[in-house]
């Protein structure tokens, strides 16, 4: 890996060079919550000053740019019995993601495993994913972050460059030739021992700050053993079945497909909408049989998919420990508490 160091003013110039020809998505302050704390969101930005690289976390992940909530899979021209199907992968122009945290880049890497994997890769996702330039930024954990427990507090691949704030400068990891070439437009220098020490100091201080933890030891087995545990019913009774957790999750990709006819009956559309396994009709089949009619079985299933099924298929969990679901849950259900209760421990 190649490391460079750059002054903070240089990053502004870098942004301006990038924004001259590319759309840039970055973290901005989009409002203030009830407690007076800023709300952050990933938005398209054209001014570096509007970005808040010191953001804590965003309410919503960046997935709407590569897994839109609603997306047309195909459109049809219909004439009587005859029709013609047109498929558009909705490939936008290249997008720069400026300032993703390690958890969100890890989330992309996990999505890649399913959506770009060897069986039926999904071109709608690939078209956008292959057209991204990702600049990561180091962060400090919030009280609800448990990314370290999920092994997602650092990221090893899946980005172009990664920035870490070391005071008046940024420490930069460069992963792609694209990033290396583009960095030629600003002043950077090789890191000195003092820079390395600052970087390591940042990392060790960060590691001391984690307040939330999840014990994943033997979790796949424990989830199987405790499949009938009464705690699922308790969490199910609290759960509202609203699906907010999936909406704010950077790795939830489940969806439903709907077809609609244009009002003039000459055209039709096939639309994919992200869905949630906590919503009541997720597993309902024709004729009305529902394989998971209770909220508790649906909630359990979500944990099962994230922490067991995905581990079985890819040897890693589908959770990055960003804590967004717990923060947004209207019933206050958090992953560390649910897992601890399944393990028979106090959170």
């Amino acid at each position: 890996m190649i490391f460079r160091v750059l002054d903070k003013e240089e990053l502004v110039k870098f942004f301006d060079h990038l924004s001259a020809n590319n759309a840039i998505v970055g973290p901005v302050e989009s409002g203030i919550d009830r407690k007076g704390k800023p709300i952050y969101a990933f938005e398209q930005v054209s001014d570096f000053a509007k970005m808040r690289l010191d953001y804590t976390t965003t309410k919503l992940p960046s997935k709407r740019y590569f897994l839109p909530f609603k997306e047309d899979l195909a459109v049809f021209k219909v004439e009587g019995d005859e029709w013609h199907k047109t498929i558009d992968f909705n490939c936008d122009k290249a997008t720069v993601f400026f300032g993703l945290h390690a958890c969100d880049i890890n989330a992309l890497n996990k999505l890649d495993k399913v959506l770009l994997g060897n069986v039926y890769p999904m071109p709608y996702y690939a078209a956008k994913r292959k057209n991204m330039f990702i600049i990561g930024v180091g962060c400090l954990p919030q009280p609800f972050c448990f990314c370290r427990s999920m092994g997602a507090d650092t990221v090893l691949h899946g980005f172009d460059m990664f920035l870490t704030d070391i005071g008046s400068r940024y420490f930069v990891e460069i992963l792609s030739a694209n990033a290396y070439n583009f960095l030629q437009c600003i002043k950077t220098r090789a890191p000195e021992e003092a820079d390395n020490l600052l970087y390591m100091k940042f990392v060790s201080e960060k590691n001391k700050m984690f307040a939330s933890r999840v014990d994943t030891t033997d979790l796949t087995k424990i989830l199987d053993m405790e499949f009938q545990s009464p705690v699922w019913k308790q969490w199910g009774d609290k759960c509202l079945g609203c699906g907010t957790c999936s909406n704010v999750c950077p790795t939830c990709y489940c969806y439903g497909v709907e077809e609609t006819v244009n009002v003039n009956l000459r055209a039709a559309k096939k639309t994919k909408t992200l869905y949630s396994c906590n919503v009541i009709d997720f597993a309902e089949v024709a004729g009305g049989h529902n394989f998971r009619p209770e909220r508790s079985t649906r909630l359990k299933y979500r944990y099962y998919h994230k922490h067991r099924g995905f581990v079985e298929a890819y040897e890693e969990s589908l959770c990055v420990g960003c804590g967004r679901c717990g923060e947004s849950c209207l019933a206050g259900i958090t992953v560390p508490e649910v897992i601890a209760s399944v393990r028979g421990e106090e959170a």
Partner: protein, 277 residues
């Protein structure tokens, strides 16, 4: 592959019961039609633009490259629309998807084909395979249960099956005035069929089971008790599906997807998938 639809034409609609029709469907492009091949137990996604798309097991013989047949019950938007379809209607099919019944591995064995209700639809394909390769198999028995005689599917084929030396035991839960056959549950019919079989028969038997969710456990328990090994029992599961390609997650069972690892599972695998049956 993704979203690639074979444009197809409905070439025949045969009424089977009040609720079920058999649709014969032909891929319009000749090269595509030649290339399209499937194995018994696999399914396709059938699409009517603007109305919807859903998974259906293929009910016809895998050796026929002209048409595929789908047995479809009126149950929702798409299937109600289809029930008003006539010859010539254009539909789309994607696939074939999923796993199949391992017919080659069953060669030389006795086969029990057990279907409850609409579960006969996915079994018609392995039945056709057996008919075409009858000498490759030992005793073959179909055990089929339905609610009433008017719910029975494919009645016009029963004589042909019997002529091909396939045992056929039919049972209905509720008889009507004309019914002369067995009355009871499908498990009763199964027990009656296996009552006359010896240990040598059981030792060399594979089973294929499909039905509504409630029947799997009862049937497979009986088969286990008489000594059919779990890895020689095959079930075909039904789940909601929106993609057929392991992406939408709607058909998830345990730690896997019905569309990729299924719909045909052996009983051992199913027992290890939480909430599969």
């Amino acid at each position: 592959m993704y979203e690639y639809t074979y444009k197809s034409e409905i070439t025949r609609v045969s009424r089977l019961t009040d609720k079920e029709n058999l649709y014969r469907i032909r891929i319009i492009d000749q090269n595509d039609r030649k290339r399209f091949s499937f194995k018994p137990g696999q399914f396709v996604m059938l699409e009517v633009p603007g109305i919807g798309e859903a998974p259906f097991s293929i009910s016809s013989s895998p050796s026929s490259h002209e048409d595929v047949e789908l047995c479809i019950r009126k149950a929702g938007n798409l299937t109600n629309y289809l029930s008003r379809a006539s010859r010539g209607m254009r539909v789309g099919i994607r696939g074939p998807f999923g796993t199949s019944f391992p017919m080659e591995n069953m060669q030389g064995q006795n086969i029990l084909l057990i279907a409850g209700g609409l579960g006969l639809a996915p079994l018609r394909s392995p039945i056709a395979y057996v008919q075409e390769n009858r000498t490759h198999f030992g005793h073959v028995d179909i055990i089929y249960g339905a609610k009433t005689p008017s719910h029975l599917l494919f009645t016009y084929q029963y004589d042909m099956w019997r002529r091909d030396e396939i045992g056929l035991s039919i049972i209905v839960e509720k008889a009507d005035s004309l019914w002369k056959g067995q009355v009871g549950l499908i498990t009763n019919a199964l027990e009656a069929v296996i009552a006359g079989k010896d240990a040598a028969y059981i030792h060399n038997t594979s089973a294929i089971v499909c039905g509504p969710p409630v029947v799997f456990k009862f049937i497979c328990n009986i088969l286990s008790e008489i000594g059919v090994p779990m890895q020689k029992m095959f079930v075909s599961l039904e789940r909601r599906m929106h993609c057929g390609m392991g992406k939408c997650c709607r058909c998830n069972v345990g730690s896997t997807y019905t569309c990729l690892s299924g719909p045909v599972f052996d009983y051992w695998t199913v027992m290890n998938l939480k909430e599969a049956i």
